[in-house]
Symmetry: C2
């Protein structure tokens, strides 16, 4: 079958090439039909759907940025993960075998998204039956746990400056292997509200801290891009607490 533009982009995605591996693992036509690969776009600001044609879907992000979040009882929001191109969108939700519904971690688009979706149940079965594929998924999940622990430690023990520096550096570390950064500059399609929710601060304080970082010659965050003036100073700011 002829694949649309997004498919080609998705099939050639870097970082483990999960889409490629999935396609490589599919055997006959029935197999492929069960996986039910389909391409979806989501507009900036919109929710990424959990279901499509009434089955839970596993999505891989082909292009654009998204984030996963929790809403606390008092209504405040916490962003628990940024989802970048080539990543699985909801790894744990997609691969969960539990029948009982769990607390949800909804996903929202920061920019317009192009997604490659599979039937979550079929994908899970396929992975369980294909060790090479499962090994990739394991490593994705493991990386997600590690990232979550890094963030936990940062939120628990770092100052506002440290947390923001940490956020910006950890995003950069993920973008570099994807070739999505320029020299000392990369796109960061986050409003100050998103940064605040991602590092556990108020927007007002985020604004102040970003001013400090700008004035002390560390970096500038504005117009949806980060520009480093002094990467080492940023790393020191992140380390200082």
């Amino acid at each position: 079958m002829a694949l649309p533009e997004q498919a080609r982009r998705c099939l050639s995605c870097p970082a483990g090439g999960l889409c490629e591996a999935i396609i490589a693992a599919t055997g006959d036509a029935a197999d492929r039909a069960a996986l039910d690969q389909r391409f979806v776009t989501v507009a900036a600001g919109q929710q990424v759907p959990k279901f499509e044609r009434s089955t839970a879907r596993a999505f891989i992000l082909c292009s654009g940025w998204a984030f996963r979040y929790r809403i606390l009882p008092d209504g405040r929001r916490s962003i628990v993960r940024l989802v970048l191109p080539s990543q699985l969108v909801s790894t744990e939700a997609a691969f969960s075998g539990l029948a009982v519904p769990q607390i949800d971690t909804p996903v929202k688009a920061l920019t317009d998204l192009q997604l490659c979706g599979y039937s979550a149940a079929s994908l899970r079965e396929k992975c369980l039956a294909t060790p090479a594929l499962m090994a990739l998924v394991l490593d994705v999940l493991i990386a997600e746990v590690r990232d979550a622990y890094d963030l936990t430690a940062a939120l628990a023990r770092r100052s506002a400056q440290g947390r923001i520096a940490f956020l910006v550096l950890s995003v950069m570390k993920k973008l570099v292997p994807e070739g999505l950064t320029q020299n000392r500059r990369y796109p960061l399609p986050l409003r100050q509200q998103h940064i605040a929710d991602a590092v556990g601060l108020t927007t007002v304080h985020v604004s102040r801290v970003l001013s400090q970082l700008r004035e002390s010659g560390v970096m500038t965050v504005s117009d949806g891009t980060v520009s480093f003036h002094d990467v080492q100073a940023c790393e020191r700011a992140a380390a200082r607490g």
Copy 2:
């Protein structure tokens, strides 16, 4: 072969019965030898070893409490996960297939521990080859991600009272299915320093907040046990922020 006392306890461990599943999945003697099941004890306060006989080991906690932590550049500690009986100790580390060494998340014993250990590499292979077993491991990893996100949101957006109430309640939710709680009371072998490191506060402030919670009739934490006076009030304290 005759198994020691811990082995029996381990083989009958609840919560998915991972040890049972692992043993059930082993075929012949060579198979069993490769897994290299061995029982280890660790004294309270000691580090849980990553290696044993020079191979990476995957441990399941048979009895006792442990915790995983990060040390930040400035020397402060953040506890990212409490490890309770029947749980895998270092799920991501044990199942990682990556050759490159990652940031470590060391494990320390809160009480004396009894552990059941396997060769990490063999266990990973065995799981990849045994879908039923892999499904269990997937669910363990997924639960770990969920817990990490819960903690992230709590640290980001809750007050000191809220974080401590959250900690105590989330531990209780894990202990209840194991039958490790009494009526409104359960053991919590944490010093105030551990609580502080687990919720991102100082010991001084933890002491103050625990006094508040005690005086307002919510709960008492002392002598290594939590006693709830009013569970709903505790849940409200956790929800309030």
